[in-house]
Symmetry: C2
Subunit: 350 residues, 2 copies
DNA sequence: TTTGATTCCGTGCACGTTCACGGAAATTTT
DNA sequence: AAAATTTCCGTGAACGTGCACGGAATCAAA
């Protein structure tokens, strides 16, 4: 207490009269130690307030960790590309600690590709895994395997039913939809709104935006009950058909003005919007893709809600590094990132 | 390139035929090395891609750093109290690296107190300093002293005229005012708005919110030119007089509805606002004090603009630790934090 | 009592740096 | 050419921990 010096393992050695080796065995409880010595060391450690020097440990131990990150292929300026910077930042710190980070990518529209990625991941025997789970069933198989091998794993973006994960970093989807509706209407009494959705194949993919839509609709029901919500489906693989779809919709519903979209693809309808300007129109979307931000700057998009996929991976990797390297459990298991509202006036400093 | 192993200082030794000591002297360029050896080592380091092992360095070097943080006394739930968590987070990592963080507090309304704090700071001979500069002249004296002693320093919150600082972390004040006006009016044509300001004594304190006000007024001039802006002054030390002041103002200007405030004290007028509810009224303030957030949750305040004083100190301390411990210069010198828009619908996850 | 097995423990090297110290080599002075 | 400097360089002991190895002590079996 009184002494300001840092207390080392050798202090425990001196205090207990035992040896380095024994003290070390106790501290890592790997047995081969008598009950009596065990207690003596524990008491001494407690009393002296011993904190192991992490860097000395790292230096001494030959073990190097490998963290695998399983996520969809990061097409340029796509949602998943946003996470790249987070991975790089995490890489810096983890590599400084003698670890490695390996990306394992899959095609987010192909279950086979996901399955194949899982195989690649397992055979590289990582020390820890970050998972962006888009396929429910396949993910649970992977998780089972990891649990059997006692490899800790962390979910990002969304979280399946599963109880063996180390931590989860994601966005509160329902609340983000609620917020989206508030940004769209401002609680004002708008008569109607259009929601643009992505046509999905009937893959057994989980669609995380369903909760977002629920939040959106609940907000309207509570704050703007008279508002009618229309839906229109587009296909990102056929961008040339989007204009026609929108033309068709607005011919039938000229009174609709405000538009929301629950995924990162709001930029897909920007060309149409800019070809059909309308004063006072509010447009709200998600995620800070470069294309979205450009539209925000031009005023075509009123607000974007950003969820920091980069922060998510970074924190996920850090949590794994903490437990693997420093043996420190994450503070919270379920972590919700904050939702940032981006407008043309604050996007500059983002 | 080909070998996957980490390259150590000893690899350079082997490659150059020189000794550990010489290589070390070159790497830390502390002289006593011939030109020829110097070049040889540098070339080898370059070619091998040598990265020093930080932890081995830390282990070997006896030097422990002390980072002093000079900032106003952190009254409970005040703006400066927000930075506490950032200091604590930085403390964790810095103490892990064998450093210490010391807060040096002063009374933000007393220049004598600031001067006295500078004295205390200097005599503890810190290795680096974080400064929240509220008094222009005194700050420049301190900075001069630090430069003479070659102690690196970082500004947070605001930045005086000075060119010797290592880095600056703050908020773009002008733009925050612009954003504030946008959040208040939404670009809609409001007839008038009220700005509530803090009465200041004629100390030679710098008032960082002047730029914020400029941004605010410019937005209105550009987007809502017909809008009339009124000002009212209140004194935080006489909260009991606030109600009267506002009563007086609104008796004379009943048409005014929307209210903005450029500092963290929006909570001061919340009691009055809640005693005088008015439908559709927009109220915008700054900073996520607990009192402000409570009012935001209740809907009394429409939006808060948050500037992350905690992130500011944390990054500032990290920048110092980087340069002092790892000899790594900050990526950017002037760093503007992002401005977050807080509403009752996204404040939950903040 | 001797042997063998078991449980427990200490020794010593390694990890990649930093840095003080002492000394060789090169250069200048007498 | 010897002495005195100056410039440059190598050696070796830390820093705090991990871990392999070998050996002492204890106990059971012969």
């Amino acid at each position: 207490m009184a002494k300001n010096e840092t207390v080392t393992l050798m202090d425990i050695v001196r205090r207990t009269g035992l040896s380095k080796g024994t003290v070390d065995r106790v501290l890592h409880n790997r047995g081969e130690v008598s009950r009596k010595s065990y207690d003596k060391v524990m008491r001494a450690a407690e009393e002296l307030g011993y904190k192991p020097n992490v860097y000395a440990s790292l230096l001494a131990s030959p073990r190097r960790i490998v963290i695998a990150v399983l996520l969809p292929y990061q097409a340029p300026d796509s949602f998943w590309a946003l996470s790249a910077s987070g991975i790089e930042r995490a890489r810096e710190s983890v590599e400084g600690l003698g670890g490695t980070i390996v990306k394992v990518e899959y095609d987010q529209y192909s279950m086979d590709s996901f399955r194949e990625a899982c195989g690649r991941l397992l055979e590289m025997e990582p020390s820890g895994v970050v998972i962006a789970p888009l396929f429910k069933h396949e993910t649970s198989l992977l998780a089972e395997e990891l649990r059997a091998k006692e490899i800790p794993y962390v979910y990002i973006d969304s979280k399946p039913d599963d109880d063996g994960y180390l931590a989860y970093f994601g966005m509160p989807m329902y609340d983000s939809g609620y917020l989206c509706a508030d940004q769209l209407t401002g609680g004002q009494d708008v008569g109607s709104a259009l929601v643009i959705r992505i046509r999905r194949d009937k893959l057994r993919q989980s669609d995380p935006t369903v909760n977002r839509r629920a939040g959106f609709l609940d907000y309207l029901a509570e704050h703007v009950p008279a508002c009618t919500v229309h839906s229109v489906f587009i296909d990102p693989n056929e961008p040339e058909r989007i204009d026609g779809t929108l033309d068709g919709f607005f011919a039938a519903h000229p009174e609709v003005r405000d538009i929301a979209m629950f995924n990162s693809r709001i930029h897909l309808i920007v060309p149409w919007l800019e070809a059909h300007p309308r004063p006072g129109r509010r447009v709200v979307g998600f995620d800070n893709l470069a294309a979205n931000i450009a539209a925000l700057r031009r005023g075509t998009v009123s607000a974007l809600i950003a969820q920091h996929p980069d922060e998510q991976v970074r924190l996920a990797i850090d949590a794994l590094a903490d437990i693997l390297l420093l043996k420190r459990a994450p503070a919270r298991r379920d972590n919700f990132m904050h939702m940032d509202i981006l407008t043309r006036y604050n996007v500059e400093y983002y």
